[in-house]
Amino acid sequence: MTGLMIGSAAISVIATIACIVQRKAIHALLYLVVSLLGLAVAMFALGAAFAAAMEAIVYAGAIMVLFIFVVMMLGPESRIPGPSAWFGSSILAAFLLGLLLVALISSPPILVSAHLNAQPASIADLNLNGSGMPHNQSAPQEQVASETGSISNKNQIPPAGDLSDGTDSVGIAVPPKEVGVALFGPFVLCTEIAAFLLIAGFVGAFHLGKDRKKRNEAQIQGSSQ
């Protein structure tokens, strides 16, 4: 899994370099999508499955589609890009897919981490149990609620993440359940501020994007009548 992380991050760096030296914006965006997907695979290998899904869905999905939408609207590149546009980025994406397949075949339990190594859990266990860890069930409920469950984690986890000890340990997996508990536990104020920020961004984009000329004409017509 360490190899998966390093390889996908290297592919991401290559795609990013290829992204910023492109002449046309649409080619750069295609490389940037590959870069974001590579970084998502690296995050997955590090054990941050929820962040990897966010990266793939929100970044490579929504934000990049917004970019491509605007670039195609801007005129000179509004043609459908031909095969020369996406050839290089698809080669990089194929490398990324191969890396992911090799990692999947060579080590089936994907979410292997330092504290799951003691009792290997299958992916089905993780899906059913959310965290897949016994210590969350044994921990008192109020501790999980108040301290996000991750603090009780730290007692059991050795300072792993070293490559020097010879084990194939990558980063320590933080399951999505803990992220959700932290997001709506101690970070709930930040979550609400993020909601404010999203609304402010929405209003700002709406204000900037509305058709002022048409509106002014309509106002002039309305006042003249």
């Binding site: 760096v13 990013t16 370099i17 992204c19 910023i20 940037l32 917004l66 490559l163 320590i172 997996a173």
Partner: protein
């Protein structure tokens, strides 16, 4: 010889990505490419958060990454609205021309 830990490798990749994004913002003149460079830099910072959260088994890294994605989405929405406004008003996305500075070098 000291073996690099996973923290070193991850933070090294995050730093490389951040530098690439910074070079993209500084070197390119098109507003779209400057926005892309900003995205790369935000993404690198998020990856550093993920590496740290993975090293210390803390959910805070992923929580900060979520906030960073929200910030990036807002920034892209407003930035692309500004780009659309510029392209309809003055038909040019060159940041230097927008600042009123002619390039002395070509």
């Amino acid at each position: 010889m000291i073996q690099p830990t996973l923290l070193d490798i991850g933070l090294g990749f995050a730093g490389i990505l951040f530098i690439i994004g910074l070079v993209g913002v500084i070197a390119r003149r098109s507003m779209i490419f400057m926005l892309i460079g900003t995205e790369i830099m935000l993404n690198a910072a998020g990856f550093a958060f993920i590496v740290g959260g993975s090293r210390w088994a803390d959910a805070g890294g992923q929580v900060m990454f979520i906030f960073l994605v929200i910030t990036a989405a807002t920034e892209v929405a407003v930035g692309l609205a500004i780009v659309l406004l510029l392209s309809t008003k003055i038909q040019d996305l060159d940041a230097d021309k927008l600042a009123g500075e002619e390039r002395s070098w070509k």
